[in-house]
């Protein structure tokens, strides 16, 4: 089985400061993993802010070059691709859909432009067909989106348009950087479930970058946990999150607050006065 995406000891360092006091900051240190072709999966990158996960995404997308190591798509160095040919295979989805779209531009323009540049649409009719097909994949239609501006849609709808825009190019890989953290709670799961459907029905591989361990457990196949630019733990998502072995992974897992952690702080600090009235069912 050949590899769709290979990261081979990829590192990225930035130098900060001026001529006399420059400091090197290693944002990503020797990260390696492989996504197989023909076995679509949701590959999750977990880490807190500053752990290097967005820098990693930018290197996979070819926006930043790696300082050392190589990112290969289908066996070829990402840097050696012609940009359009690369973007037709790898598409991004960003955190905040309100920042990803220009507020003064109609949404259908993005879809048509992507269709013409990366999706191989020869004319407007073909572009419209591609756009409509992609919007239907995400539960919208061209009729609903056509002529609308970003502010006319809710955050959840806009993020679905962002997913549709990525799909128009008919990519093999989607890199989604914190795609649900700006989406309303009641709509979040519809985006996460959409990723699952894209994997199962369209055979797309998705790199899902997040700090939310619960959705990572819910949707992903494999994951890596990053701390300060390094991978501290990697493996099948559910196995790793059920029994994390690295101290940092354990710390992360233990810090997750869910409805089941009810009273985590109440128990430690009970009321000094009369007990809280109202019984727990």
């Amino acid at each position: 089985m050949s590899a769709l995406l290979e990261l081979d000891k990829v590192s990225k360092s930035f130098s900060r400061g001026g001529l006399f006091s420059s400091r090197r900051v290693d944002a990503v240190k020797e990260v390696s993993f492989t996504l197989d072709d023909g076995r679509p999966e949701i590959f999750t990158v977990i880490g807190e802010s500053g752990s290097g996960k967005s820098t990693l995404a930018r290197m996979i997308l070819g926006i930043n070059a790696a300082s050392s190591g190589q990112v290969r798509l289908a066996g070829r160095d990402v840097a050696s691709y012609e940009r359009r040919a690369f973007m037709a295979q790898v598409q991004p989805i960003f955190q905040n859909p309100f920042e990803a779209f220009n507020p003064l531009k109609r949404l259908d323009r993005y879809l048509f432009m992507t269709a013409e540049r990366f999706g191989g649409a020869a004319d407007r009719a073909a572009a419209e067909e591609l756009a409509d097909g992609a919007l239907r994949q995400v539960g919208l239609s061209l009729a609903e989106v056509s002529g609308r501006f970003p502010h006319e849609l809710s955050g959840g709808q806009l993020q679905r348009v962002a997913v549709a825009r990525a799909l128009v190019a008919r990519p093999r890989l989607i890199v989604a950087d914190e795609p649900v953290s700006m989406v309303d709670a009641s709509l979040r799961m519809s985006i996460v479930n959409l990723f699952g459907r894209l994997r199962d029905e369209l055979g797309l591989s998705i790199i899902y970058i997040t700090h939310d361990l619960a959705t990572a457990y819910y949707i992903s196949d494999r994951l890596i946990i990053m701390q300060k630019g390094m991978v501290v733990e990697a493996g099948p998502a559910r196995a790793v999150l059920s029994a994390p072995s690295h101290p940092y992974s354990r710390q992360l897992r233990d810090a997750v607050l869910t409805p089941d952690s009810a009273g985590a702080f109440r128990a430690r600090h009970p009321l000094k006065a009369a007990a809280t009235p109202g019984a727990t069912p």
């Binding site: 807190e48 802010s49 809710s154 955050g155 959840g156 709808q157 309303d184 709670a185 009641s186 709509l187 979040r188 799961m189 519809s190 985006i191 996460v192 479930n193 700090h211 361990l213 619960a214 959705t215 457990y217 819910y218 559910r238 999150l241 059920s242 710390q251 992360l252 897992r253 233990d254 810090a255 997750v256 607050l257 869910t258 409805p259 089941d260 952690s261 009810a262 009273g263 985590a264 702080f265 109440r266 430690r268 600090h269 009321l271 000094k272 006065a273 009369a274 809280t276 009235p277 109202g278 019984a279 727990t280 069912p281």
Partner: protein, 336 residues
């Protein structure tokens, strides 16, 4: 409302209405961001407010705190604090009265600590700016007290000499907690204080807020959209949807026996580690508050919607002891 004996409310909110009124090019627009909200916050408790973005949480606390700026206006109702009994809302009291109670009785912990701390002044000066006039005493005496108070949030007294940019996000948020609590206020408003923090740091900061609150026996109105935080921290919880309170009660009761269909969805949709059950998002989107749907604002998305829901606003009814819900399906025959 089942008031437990000996725990008088510090804050009583009744039928509070706050609207954004704008007039552009002769077109009047009114966004009813808070529409008829009522609840109590008792002494020595953390009352949580949950809801999605644009459900009116922040507008509600701004109105309660009297931080009203046009186009936001308090249109009706009251929000009465026990330490300001002669006025039915902070926003209606004269400025000299508000200055007297602010920080001494009522303080805030905000989301962005960088917006609270002056980036050009050392932490020591921020403490003096906020709290010196309320505490009084000499400069040395006050600084010693600030240093002692910083130790409660496990910060070294040397932090007083630091500039905000020299501290990490978690440390800065602890400084703002120390600032908000140094005067031992009766009431603290905490608006998404941990949302910008990493999970590990968040857990630490929440534990700190909890222990300081229990020590001072003050009341906290705690706002976040994160249901996990509410479950772990709050004593009682109110759920907001589109500018209205739809359910409130003891936090374990809300999580154990949610009654409103929206609350049920919010709790059921959260994935958990160790559980592979399929979770669904909710169809539709939260309404535009400039043109909210008539009747119950949740009815276009509600699985239990009936014809009545589209015409009549459901009243907040105490369905179970201490557990109020505004829903026609749960409380047949209760109209507002």
């Amino acid at each position: 409302m089942s008031a437990a004996p000996g725990r008088a409310p510090v804050l009583q909110v009744r039928d509070l209405q706050a609207h954004f009124r704008t007039r552009y090019f002769g077109v009047d627009r009114e966004v009813r961001a808070v529409d008829g909200v009522g609840f109590d916050v008792r002494r020595n408790e953390i009352y949580g407010l949950a809801g999605e973005s644009s459900s009116g949480k922040t507008t509600l606390v701004k109105t309660i705190a009297g931080l009203l700026k046009p186009p936001l206006e308090m249109v009706g109702g009251s929000a009465r604090f026990s330490f300001l009994p002669e006025w039915d809302a902070v926003g209606r009291a004269p400025p000299e009265v508000v200055r007297r109670i602010r920080w001494r009785h009522l303080s805030y912990i905000m989301q962005g600590s960088m917006n609270v701390l002056n980036p050009l002044r050392r932490i020591r000066h921020s403490f003096r700016d906020f709290a010196w006039r309320h505490i009084g005493g000499g400069k040395r005496e006050f600084d010693a007290r600030a240093a002692a108070h910083l130790e409660r949030v496990r910060l070294d007294p040397s932090v007083l000499s630091a500039y905000p940019h020299e501290l990490s996000g978690g440390m800065r948020q602890r400084v703002t907690i120390a600032l908000a609590t140094i005067c031992k206020p009766d009431f603290i408003i905490a608006d998404e204080p941990t949302t910008a923090l990493d999970v590990v740091v968040q857990k630490d900061v929440l534990g700190m807020i909890r222990s300081i609150q229990r020590e001072m026996e003050s009341s906290i109105l705690f706002i976040t959209h994160d249901m996990g935080v509410h479950a772990a921290l709050t004593d009682r919880l109110g759920i907001m949807y589109a500018g209205r309170l739809v359910e409130d009660g003891e936090t374990p009761e809300i999580f154990g026996r949610p009654l409103h269909p929206y609350t049920r969805h919010l709790i059921a949709s959260l994935p958990r580690i160790g559980d592979v059950e399929q979770r669904e998002g909710l169809e539709g989107t939260p309404p535009n508050l400039a043109m909210p749907p008539p009747g119950c604002r949740f009815h276009p998305r509600c699985p239990l919607a009936m014809p009545l829901c589209a015409t009549t606003v459901p009243a907040m009814v105490e369905t179970l002891p201490g557990h109020r819900v505004a829903c026609h399906a749960v409380n047949p025959g209760a109209a507002a």
